[in-house]
Amino acid sequence: MTAASAMPAVSAHDLSVHGLSYAVRGKMLVDDVSFDVPAGTLTALIGPNGAGKSTLLRLMNGALASNGEGAAVMLGGRDLLRLSRRERAKTVALVEQQSTIEFAVTVREAVALGRIPFRRWWAGAGDDRVIDDALRLAGAGAWADRQVATLSGGERQRVTLARALAQQPRLLLLDEPTNHLDIAAQLDLFALLRDLIDRTHLTVVVALHDLSAALNDSDYVVVLSGGRVVASGVTPDAVDADLIRRVYGVEAAFVADPGSGRPVVIFRRLGDVGD
């Protein structure tokens, strides 16, 4: 059985999540989640709908407060949960699933919101360079003056990513970022994340329910089911057919990608026998 044993040894500079829990009306949405991954890597957080992925990301950036005793999110030797809200917002950024807006806001204005933790009441903006860079890195530079409301889902995703990058984070969390993207945009997004990691040694955690994308593009996987970590480790070793059957309730077969040699998963309904 796959287990946490496959996880690498971590140093003080790495990401170490410890004892995060969250309950609503007695129901544990996230139940004592812990995992460690090296900095400068891409971790896929996978699991079926309702496994607690989104809640876990919100606990990690402090948007929700953990109920757990001794909860900690260590990064670079500091516990993010013990930082002030403002300091935390300068360290970790969250790209939410789909953010809607009622106001007529331009892309540049939306991205400039990422600078809010850096502003003080006596100081104005003056962050134009950072905003420009974030727009460019996220590939949203061409639309800077357009209204967010006129953008497609994929374009909006990039604006949200640019806003997160404007926070100059060391830890970037993305919640189902591929949901509204077509396949080319999905591949682009992961190439972009890789690029960011290579340039800035960013640590990235991506919640995904698309198992194939997770196996294709991540360095590590953490598998959640019912709010608990049921497996974690190096991609793709941490995931096998037995685990997929237990967590997702489907049969899975692995074949090698003829190009990269990485495993690709093929799914069947439980009980359906292949030919």
Binding site: G62, R119, A142, R199
Partner: protein
């Protein structure tokens, strides 16, 4: 021990970002829908214009009225008072200019500023371009408070009672809206209408029970929004509240920006969401409570002006709020001048004027949003 920040490198090398990859991003689709935001010089010009129009409006509006006093005499009177010299006018006419007209114009300015700023804050907080202190039931809650304090002889000042009434109404509206499901603009408005109707019923009952004879008309006048009762006391209260609330509000306006994409986004930007929300709601209740205590329920100012301001200067409340305050003050001065002179010697409650102007604009905003949600 702080570690150095990650600097985002400027990608001079081709990156996926700029569409150099195998799937280039569409370069300029729908480029025609560019924003019409003002920047730099034109934007500064808007503020200069707004800041000069306000004092000019005060000076002009003071000179307009049914007493037939020439505008030069009016200005000489104002200057004489400011300089501590004897007034050129008879005591009666001097009183009309200095104690009646000027106080009314100045009170109108503060009330207009307070209502426009309240609207902008409500809209940011509820993420709803249709939010307004009047539509969300605050004004009617404040009316209940003010009327109860006056009629029942409760020993608190009308302003404080109006504030408490506004706060209670706002809390009720938001609780009701939340209990209907995920908060949406239309649910919030429906909840506001419900609370508003209840508040109006309570106010009407209190008035019906207590008021007799001629004072009925007077109370009704105030209820529909009127600045006729202004004096130096209302000037002091309205300006003090507006300044004491408004200045820190502008300085902390970035917090309002953070709510643009919702509560989780605000929390992710380092905002203490619950605390910020309550502080801002209390601020709005205080501004609205003051406005209602001074001038009754005046609607639609808080709806129209913030939407116009956002169109001009974009989505940053540090820019929006001062413009709302200046424009709201000027707008209110002229609407009230119209209310007291158009049908002279009869006077129209100013709330009727703002509703006549504001309701069609509200319909227009609704119509522009018809395709969504």
């Amino acid at each position: 021990m702080t570690s150095t920040r990650i600097r985002l490198p400027v990608p001079s090398a081709p990156s996926v970002a700029e569409g150099a990859g195998e799937n280039p991003m569409p370069a300029t689709p729908r480029a025609s829908r560019r924003s019409s935001r003002l920047r730099g010089g034109p934007r500064a010009a808007v503020y200069v214009a707004a800041a000069t129009t306000l004092p000019a409006s005060v000076l002009l509006a003071v000179g307009i009225g049914s007493a037939g006093i020439g505008i030069i005499d009016v200005w000489q009177t104002v200057v004489a008072h400011l300089a501590g010299m004897p007034s050129p006018l008879s005591p009666l006419r001097d009183g009309i200019v200095w104690d009646i007209r000027l106080t009314r114009v100045l009170t109108a300015a503060a009330v207009g500023a307070a209502l426009a700023v309240s609207g902008a804050v409500m809209q940011a907080l509820t993420r709803n371009v249709l939010a307004d202190p009047y539509l969300l039931g605050l004004s009617s809650g404040a009316s209940v408070g003010a009327v109860a304090a006056l009629m029942l002889g409760v020993a608190i000042m009308p302003t404080v009672a109006a504030f408490l009434g506004a706060l209670a109404a706002l809390t009720l509206t938001l609780l009701l809206a939340r209990s209907l499901g995920p908060i949406s603009p239309s649910r919030t408005i429906l909840a506001g209408i419900t609370v508003s109707a209840f508040g109006v019923a309570v106010t009407s009952f209190l008035i019906f029970w207590n008021v007799q004879g001629d004072s009925y008309r007077e109370v009704l006048n105030w209820l529909m929004g009127s600045l006729a009762g202004s004096g130096w006391a209302t000037v002091a209260v309205s300006w003090a509240v507006t300044a004491v609330i408004g200045i820190p509000l502008v300085l902390g306006a970035r917090v309002l920006d953070a709510f643009a994409f919702g509560d989780t986004a605000a929390a992710s930007l380092g905002i203490h969401v619950t605390r910020a929300r309550w502080i801002f709601l209390a601020v709005v209740a205080l501004l609205t409570g003051m406005a209602v205590a001074v001038s009754g329920a005046i609607g639609f100012i808080g709806l129209v002006l913030p939407n116009a301001a956002r169109l001009l200067v974009g989505f940053r409340h540090r820019l929006i709020l001062p413009l709302c305050a200046l424009a709201g003050a000027t707008f209110m001065i002229w609407v009230d001048t119209g209310a007291r002179t158009l049908f002279a010697p009869r006077e129209l409650p100013v709330g009727i004027m703002t509703a006549l102007v504001g309701a069609p604009i509200f319909a227009l905003v609704l119509w522009r949003h018809r395709s969504r949600s």
